[in-house]
Structure formats: C-alpha cells, structure tokens
C-alpha cells in the first residue's frame, strides 16, 4: 500500500516523536487518575482511541460547513455525543470498570487531546488522514497509560490485571522479605512516574537527534 509521507506521519508521529502526553502535554488529567490498576487504564486507552478517531472523522466530514465563530461548541457537542455513547456501552457491558473510571469517563469530553486534534488536524485535513491521526494519538496516549499503570499495579499491589504476580510466599506476612510499595498507589506517584518517562523519552530522542 503506497501511503504518502504525510499520511504515515499522521499515524506514526504521535506514537513517539510527537506523543500527545510526553511531548504535547495534552490529556494529562485522565492519564494520571486512572492508572492505579492496569484494567481501567486499558479500558480508558481504548475508549479515548475510539472517541478521538471517530470525532476526528465526523469533524473532518463536516469541516467545510462549520461556521468559524461557533466551531468550539460544535466540536464539543460531537465529542459529548460520542462520549455519552461510549459511557452507556461501558455501563451496559463492563459496569465495574465504568464505576472505577467514574467521572474520568465523562471528562474525556474535556480531554485536551480531543480538542487539540480537532482544532489542529481534523479541521483542515481529509477524512482518511484524520482517522489515522486520531488512531495514532489514541494509541500514543494509551501506551503511556499502560506503562504507568503496569508499574503502579505491579509494585503497588503485586498484581497485574487483578492476578497475583509477586508470589505470596515472598511477603513479610508469610515469612518472606517483600512488601508492596504503598506509595505507588498514591496520586503523587503517577506524576513522578510520568515525569521520569518524559525524562527518559527526551534523553533518548535528543541522542538520536544528534
């Protein structure tokens, strides 16, 4: 399949070089709040990917008939409608995860990634590019969430996706040497972890740039 350079860039850029969280610093609120466990983080990542991709497509389809003055409200309504659909679907099929995500599911509406991509990309590009840009940004967002949640759940609770990973016999309570790091479950550690990921990301990318 022959894709133009720009099309490829729209999808691959956000995964690393132009990552929405690490480089553009968008969509931080939800990224930090849902990463105590891996499962809600995965669901959140998938939900955001679907919503960014679909809202990019919708706005790109109607971009020529949106009056410039009220474009923000139109974009918000498109996003709010999609978020409502996703949240109703989650409540129907994955009720416990929807409850864990609580207000952060509704807050996808005000996730800056969405408004940022709609304003910066979908308003001025065709449908296929917008779809790829949406998917790229969604995945770029999701992988950070998964990395942070992986570290926090593994070290904070000794589990992954709810399954015990650290053997029970290692724990001090059972005569072992290991204890969970309760710090990891606190909100503050999410910030510090993302800070460290940004550090590593910049260090590696700067080296490549040289």
């Amino acid at each position: 399949m022959a894709l133009s350079k720009k099309t490829k860039e729209a999808f691959l850029g956000p995964l690393n070089v132009n990552n929405p969280i690490l480089v553009q610093i968008l969509g931080i609120c939800s990224a930090l709040a849902v990463t105590v466990q891996l499962k809600p983080a995965l669901v959140m990542g998938i939900s955001v990917t679907i919503i960014v991709a679909l809202s990019n497509v919708v706005v790109s389809l109607i971009r020529n008939s949106i009056p410039a003055r009220i474009r923000i409200i139109i974009q918000l309504v498109v996003v709010a409608a999609l978020v409502t659909i996703v949240s109703e679907v989650l409540k129907a099929f994955a009720y416990d995860v929807a409850m864990q995500l609580s207000v952060y599911l509704g807050l996808i509406i005000t996730n800056c990634i969405l408004m940022g991509r709609l304003e910066a990309f979908a308003m001025s590009n065709n449908v296929v590019d917008s779809l790829l840009d949406g998917l790229g940004n969604g995945f770029g967002y999701a992988w950070i969430l998964v990395v942070v949640a992986f570290v926090r759940e593994l070290f904070g609770a000794g589990t992954l996706l709810g399954y015990q990973i650290i053997p029970q016999s290692w724990y001090v309570a059972n005569g072992g040497f290991y204890e969970n790091c309760g710090m990891m479950l606190m909100p503050a550690m999410a910030l510090i972890l993302v800070g460290c990921i940004i550090w590593a990301h910049r260090a590696i990318n700067d080296k490549e740039a040289k």
């Binding site: 610093i25 931080i28 923000i72 207000v103 509704g106 807050l107 005000t110 800056c112 503050a188 910030l191």
Partner: protein
Amino acid sequence: MEHALSLFVRSIFADNMIFAFFLGMCSYLAVSKDVKTAAGLGVAVVFVQTITLPVNYLLQVYVLDPLNLGYLSFILFIAVIAAIVQLVEMVVEKFSPSLYNALGIFLPLIAVNCAIMGGSLFMQQRVLLDPENVKAIANIGDAFAFAIGSGLGWMLAIVALAGIREKMEYNDVPKPLQGIGITFITVGLMALAFMCFSGLNI
C-alpha cells in the same frame, strides 16, 4: 451551614482538584510559568466555577433527575459551561474592560478546563450521597460552597506551583529533565505534601 463550611474547607485542601483528582492539569502545567498570569487564570477559574456549578446543580436536581434524563448530562453540562463562558466573556467585556483585559485571554481556555467539567460531574455524584456524609451536596448553599472551595483550591495550587517554578529558573536541572519533566516531579512532591490534609477530619 456547618456542613457547607466543612465542605468548603475540604474541597480546598483534602479534595484539592489538582493534587487529589488531577483535574485541569493541562492549563495548570501550561500557564504556571509566572505568578501573575497564574493568579489571573486562577481567578478566572474561581469565577466560572462559582457560576456554572450551581447552575448545573439546579439543572441536575430540577430537570435531569425528575425527567430521568441522566444520560444527557454530559452534553447538557458541557453546553451550559460553554454557553456561560461565552456569556461571561461578553458581560465582562461590556461592563469591566479592565477585568476583561486581565481575564480575557483565559476565558476561552476555561470552557475545556477539566476542573470546571469535573466539578459538575463530582456534584452529580455527590447529590446522590446520604446527607450525613461529609461530601454530600444537599442544597444550593452546599453547591456554592463546593464550587468556591474547589475553585480556590485550584487557584492555590497553580499560584504555589508558579512560585516554585520561578525560583527553579536558577537551579541546575539535568538537561532532558528541564521544563516539563521537572515540573511533573515538583507537582508530585507537592501532591505528597498536600496528602497530609486528607488525614485530618474536618
């Protein structure tokens, strides 16, 4: 009255929008480079929060709940916020040009600030709580107390971070960590400090 007061204090410290819930992070990190601008945005957030949250409270209690339209709340809340921000912008521009000059550039930003939308969504959850619960919002007075408290908490956080970042200009930070990286870690440490408030039962 006592309940509203404790709700007010809790929402500034223990349930701080930034340090406990990470709401409004994007503008928090982007606009905290100097104290003056940070304070401007903080005032704008308090202002808009104090107007939108009670309005959304009335809508939730008198329109959405009786008609069983809960699933429309996202669209309704964001429409109310966007409309009120637009309205506030026009009113302020007309009646107080000096305030408009101070707040003007921030107002459009606030329509998509998660702290505002998040405040309304928390309100929606807390309306359902048992009135004895310290977090419950049982009447319009509580809604005001929560709105002003959470707005002030956000403002406190952004002004504090801006002060720290101004001092940090002179520090020798490793190059890849400079700018946004060290800011994240600073906010993390501030969040740790703020956590001692949640140990207090007010």
